[in-house]
């Protein structure tokens, strides 16, 4: 029995120039808010951008984008709705407020289904918001989305970097392209993460400070783009674009 989904995925994604998986292994480091903000900022500059939320059991990018109630349009597959110029796809469109307890094998199936039906058209960059953990979806992105580059997010904490170090080892072992590491939610001038990242031979892309105003900006794209958080994300964009 052949699964026809696998044979169309590459074609569905053939119009995408660059795919960036915003990853960490660790949860709560800012993957979703950074992925969303990068998408919005690039779109603002006129690039053709897509954003795909792969945190299927705990999606959050729709909170950042205030995009809970959109519906993709069915058209020889599914056309992702646009939010501030970003073609956006999330399981939330089909879940509403419902909880989605999904085992790993089901997560893989959702990924294949989404990749097989979504018509991204031509994009300069597709940003993928990865779930925490080093499990099915990380392995599936490596398996099915062969060109993906990895943008790694950590916080200054030993606890976050414990996992980030392992993810970097995994990706390096597979020769997967690593764009570099962003240190998010910085509150002081410690250089521990920068030194560790550089000692591993990876690129340290920059720091984003903890922004006490970010929380209230979530849900309003205009407010979000005015935060100092967004300005700091913006300063890292050139390194991401040229990676």
């Amino acid at each position: 029995m052949l699964d026809p989904r696998k044979s169309v995925i590459d074609r569905r994604m053939s119009g995408i120039k660059k795919i960036i998986a915003v990853s960490s292994g660790k949860g709560g480091v800012g993957k979703s808010v950074i992925a969303s903000t990068i998408a919005l900022l690039f779109a603002d500059k006129g690039l053709k951008i897509g954003l795909l939320d792969l945190d299927f059991t705990s999606p959050t990018t729709h909170v950042v984008l205030n995009a809970r109630n959109l519906k993709p349009v069915e058209d020889r597959g599914v056309a992702p709705p646009e939010v501030y110029g970003v073609k956006y796809m999330s399981l939330v469109f089909y879940l509403g407020d419902q909880v989605s307890p999904l085992r790993g094998a089901d997560l893989s199936n959702v990924l294949l289904e989404v990749l097989a039906i979504t018509r991204w058209g031509s994009l300069d960059i597709l940003l993928i918001d990865m779930p925490p953990g080093i499990s099915d979806l990380m392995l599936d992105v490596l398996k099915y989305i062969r060109g993906a580059r990895f943008l790694i997010i950590t916080t200054p904490s030993k606890m976050a970097f414990e996992t980030v170090r392992k993810l970097l080892a995994l990706l390096k072992g597979l020769k997967a392209p690593i764009i570099g590491v962003i240190e998010n939610m910085k509150m002081n001038d410690a250089t521990y993460i920068r030194r560790e990242v550089e000692a591993l031979g990876e690129r340290f892309l920059g720091e984003i400070h903890f922004d006490g105003k970010l929380e209230e900006a979530l849900g309003s794209v205009e407010s979000l783009l005015k935060t100092s958080f967004a300005r700091e994300v913006e300063s890292i964009l050139p390194m991401i674009e040229n990676s």
Partner: protein
């Protein structure tokens, strides 16, 4: 998956197999469609007819629906799609992404969302007949 997106995927899979197996022409393609996908058979057949070409130009597509069986991993209770009451909107979401079932369907006996689903999901190419 969708009728047209689906037809495209089927044609692409069958073409790849025909190439690999060195078939000159494909006569028959057997498809199994999970009940949960709620595929509109007429649209699917129409899409397949519209899209088939080359080695597949004369292929006949035989579609069989396979029934969804739910089995609770906690209490072992078994049930079927006909036992489920769901709004049209929910069924539409399940039509797009069958695993959305885990958000809306619960074991009728114990309430658990932890069930296995066999037969009901996916679209499968179960057989291809052609001439070398």
């Amino acid at each position: 998956m969708h009728e047209w997106a689906l037809a495209e995927a089927i044609i692409s899979t069958v073409s790849q197999v025909a190439e690999k197996e060195g078939l000159r022409e494909v006569n028959e393609v057997h498809l199994k469609v999970g009940e949960l996908q709620q595929v509109n058979r007429e649209i699917l057949e129409f899409a397949l007819r519209e899209m088939k070409s080359g080695k597949l130009a004369n292929a006949k597509f035989i579609i069989r629906e396979s029934r969804a069986t739910f089995k609770c991993r906690v209490c072992s209770h078994k049930w079927f799609l006909k036992n489920i009451e769901a709004s049209e909107e929910v069924m539409e979401s399940i039509h797009f992404i069958p695993e959305v079932a885990y958000a809306y369907i619960r074991c009728p006996k114990c309430g658990s969302p932890d069930f296995s689903l066999s037969g009901g999901r996916g679209v499968w190419v179960s057989g291809i007949r052609g001439v070398k």
